[in-house]
C-alpha cells in the first residue's frame, strides 16, 4: 500500500514477533491479520524477504514449508543443541520407513497396496505409529469390497521434513535405471546359459511392461498387484 505511514521496519518487527512465537507455520493470510491497514502481498513479501535476509549468518533461518512460513535452526547447529538435549525423535525401522515411502510416493494407497509392494504383512501398530506422528492419515476409502481406507501423507509430514510440496521429495530412481544396476561386463551369461534363452525379455523389456511405469502407478487402483 502506498499509505504514507507504511513503515517497513515496523512491519518487519511485527512479522518477526509473530513468526517467532507461532506454534505453527504462518501463511500470508495469517500475517495480514496482524495489521489494521490492509497490507498487500507485495509489501508482505518484501518484509518477509528482509526478515529472512537479516538471518543470514545467524543460527536460525526463515523457511517456507507446506503450511507457510516459519523459523527453524540451521541443521549445522543441531550437534550443539543435541548436547544439551539428548532427546531425539525415534529413528524408525526399515519397515516403518518403507511404509512411509510407499504412502508418500504412491498415495493414496490402501494397506493392501503397501503389503503388495513390500511383500509382507503391515502391522496395525506400524500404521498407527505413522498416524500418531501426524505424518499420514486416512483420506478416503477405495470403492472395492471391504472399502479399505486410503492413506496419504499430511501437510505436517512435509513441514517436518522442511518441504513445501510432495514434488520436493527426492526423485524416485526410475525402474529402467534399477535394471541397469548390473554392470554390463558383469553378466553371468555362461553359467546360467541354459536358462537364459529368452533374450526377448531383456532385449525389449517394454513389451513385458517392465519399462512401463504406468502399470504400477497408483491410478491402477485395486489391481495394483
Amino acid at each position: 500500500m502506498d499509505s504514507p505511514s507504511f513503515d517497513i521496519e515496523h512491519v518487519k518487527h511485527v512479522i518477526e514477533a509473530a513468526l517467532l512465537t507461532a506454534s505453527e507455520p504462518l501463511q500470508l493470510a495469517d500475517l495480514k491479520k496482524l495489521f489494521d491497514d490492509e497490507l498487500d502481498n507485495d509489501a508482505l513479501q518484501e518484509a518477509l524477504t528482509e526478515v529472512a535476509q537479516a538471518c543470514e549468518g545467524r543460527s536460525i533461518e526463515l523457511v517456507n514449508v507446506a503450511s507457510g512460513w516459519r523459523f527453524r535452526t540451521r541443521p549445522e547447529y543441531q550437534r550443539f543443541l543435541d548436547r544439551m538435549n539428548p532427546q531425539k525423535p525415534p529413528r524408525y525401522s526399515r519397515a516403518v520407513l518403507e511404509t512411509l515411502a510407499i504412502v508418500a510416493y504412491k498415495q493414496p494407497v490402501t494397506r493392501g497396496d503397501i503389503e503388495d509392494i513390500r511383500g509382507v504383512v503391515v502391522s496395525t501398530n506400524l500404521i498407527k505409529a505413522l498416524e500418531a506422528r501426524g505424518w499420514i492419515d486416512v483420506v478416503g476409502n477405495r470403492e472395492v469390497p471391504g472399502r479399505p481406507e486410503l492413506f496419504a501423507t499430511t501437510r505436517q509430514f512435509l513441514d517436518d521434513l522442511n518441504l513445501k510440496a510432495l514434488t520436493d521429495l527426492p526423485p524416485l530412481d526410475d525402474l529402467g535405471q534399477l535394471i541397469e544396476t548390473v554392470a554390463p561386463g558383469a553378466r553371468v551369461g555362461g553359467e546360467f546359459g541354459a536358462e537364459a534363452g529368452d533374450e526377448a525379455l531383456s532385449a525389449d523389456g517394454e513389451e513385458t511392461g517392465i519399462d512401463a511405469p504406468a502399470d504400477i502407478a497408483p491410478e491402477t487402483g485395486p489391481t495394483l498387484n
Binding site: 512465537t21 503388495d116 521434513l161 534399477l178 535394471i179 558383469a186 498387484n225
Partner: protein, 265 residues
C-alpha cells in the same frame, strides 16, 4: 564363457569377484539375525540377485530358486518362526521355474509374457521403494536435524491448558524406547497395567485409613480375576516396601498398612 579365471566377472562392493559363490553360506549363529535383516521375501530375493550380480531381466530361475529354498529350508530346520510370506514366495518361484521348463512352440504368441515378468516387476517396484525409504530417512527432520523456534509470549491471561490424548502417551513411550534402547525391557501389557492400577488403588485406600484388615481390601462382588489382580498388587506393594503386611500370630487377622503408617502426605 570366454573369460579367463583371472578376470573378475563382477565387482561387488568394490571387491573383485572371481567366481560366483556356489551357495549362500549363512553362519548358523547369524541365521536368526540374518532373517531379521530382511523385510520379507522380496527383500531376500533382491539381496540374492544383487549379491550375485544377476541380470534382473534374465533371472536364472533354477539357481535363484535353489538358493532361496535352501535358505528357507535352513530356517525351518532351525525351527525359526518362518513368516508365511516366505513360503508363499517359495511356491511362486517353483511355479515360475516349472513354467520355464515347458517347451515353447516356435510359433509362440508375441504377447505371451515371460513367466518371470511379474516377479521382476514386483522386485523392481520394491527396490525402488526401498531406496526411496532410505533417501527419505536422510532428509533433515524436525527434532532430529533441526529445531523449531518458539519464543515465549508473556501473557498472563493465557489459561488454555495443553491437551493430551492417549496416542500422545503412546508416542512418548516410543521416544523413551528410542533413547534408552530399552525395547524389550519395558513390556507393559494390559495385565501388568491392571496390577499397576490396583497397586495405586490399594495405596489410595490405605491413605484414608491408617490400616486395614487384609480381607477388607477384597470385595466379594469382585470376580476372580479382580481378586487375583488385587492380591498380586498387594504382594507387589509389599515387595517394593510400599506397604507392610503383618500378622501377630498364626490365624490372627492380617493387617495391611502404609509403611511407617503414614497417611499424611
Amino acid at each position: 564363457m570366454t573369460t579367463e579365471i583371472a578376470a573378475p566377472i563382477a565387482r561387488y562392493r568394490g571387491e573383485p569377484v572371481l567366481q560366483l559363490p556356489l551357495d549362500l553360506y549363512i553362519p548358523p549363529d547369524a541365521l536368526e539375525v540374518f532373517l531379521d535383516t530382511f523385510e520379507g521375501p522380496l527383500d531376500l530375493l533382491l539381496y540374492l540377485i544383487r549379491k550375485h550380480n544377476l541380470d534382473v531381466l534374465d533371472i536364472p530361475m533354477a539357481r535363484l530358486t535353489a538358493q532361496y529354498l535352501e535358505y528357507v529350508e535352513v530356517m525351518r530346520r532351525k525351527s525359526l518362526e518362518l513368516a508365511a510370506e516366505y513360503l508363499v514366495m517359495a511356491a511362486v518361484l517353483i511355479e515360475i521355474k516349472s513354467r520355464m521348463l515347458l517347451p515353447r512352440p516356435p510359433s509362440v504368441a508375441p504377447d505371451e509374457e515371460d513367466p518371470r515378468a511379474e516377479l521382476v516387476r514386483r522386485l523392481l517396484v520394491y527396490e525402488q521403494m526401498k531406496l526411496a525409504a532410505h533417501r527419505l530417512d536422510e532428509l533433515p527432520q524436525v527434532g532430529r536435524d533441526f529445531m523449531l523456534v518458539q519464543v515465549w509470549i508473556d501473557k498472563e491471561a493465557d489459561l488454555a491448558l495443553p491437551s493430551v490424548n492417549a496416542e500422545d502417551l503412546h508416542q512418548a513411550w516410543l521416544w523413551l524406547l528410542q533413547r534408552a534402547s530399552v525395547n524389550k525391557h519395558h513390556r507393559v501389557t494390559r495385565d501388568q497395567l491392571s496390577v499397576r492400577e490396583h497397586m495405586t488403588m490399594v495405596l489410595r485406600r490405605l491413605q484414608e485409613v491408617s490400616f486395614l484388615e487384609f480381607t477388607q481390601l477384597f470385595s466379594q462382588e469382585d470376580g476372580v480375576p479382580k481378586l487375583v489382580v488385587t492380591l498380586l498388587a498387594i504382594l507387589e506393594l509389599a515387595r517394593e516396601s510400599m506397604i507392610e503386611v503383618t500378622q501377630q500370630e498364626p490365624y490372627a487377622p492380617i493387617y495391611v498398612k502404609l509403611t511407617h503408617g503414614l497417611s499424611v502426605v
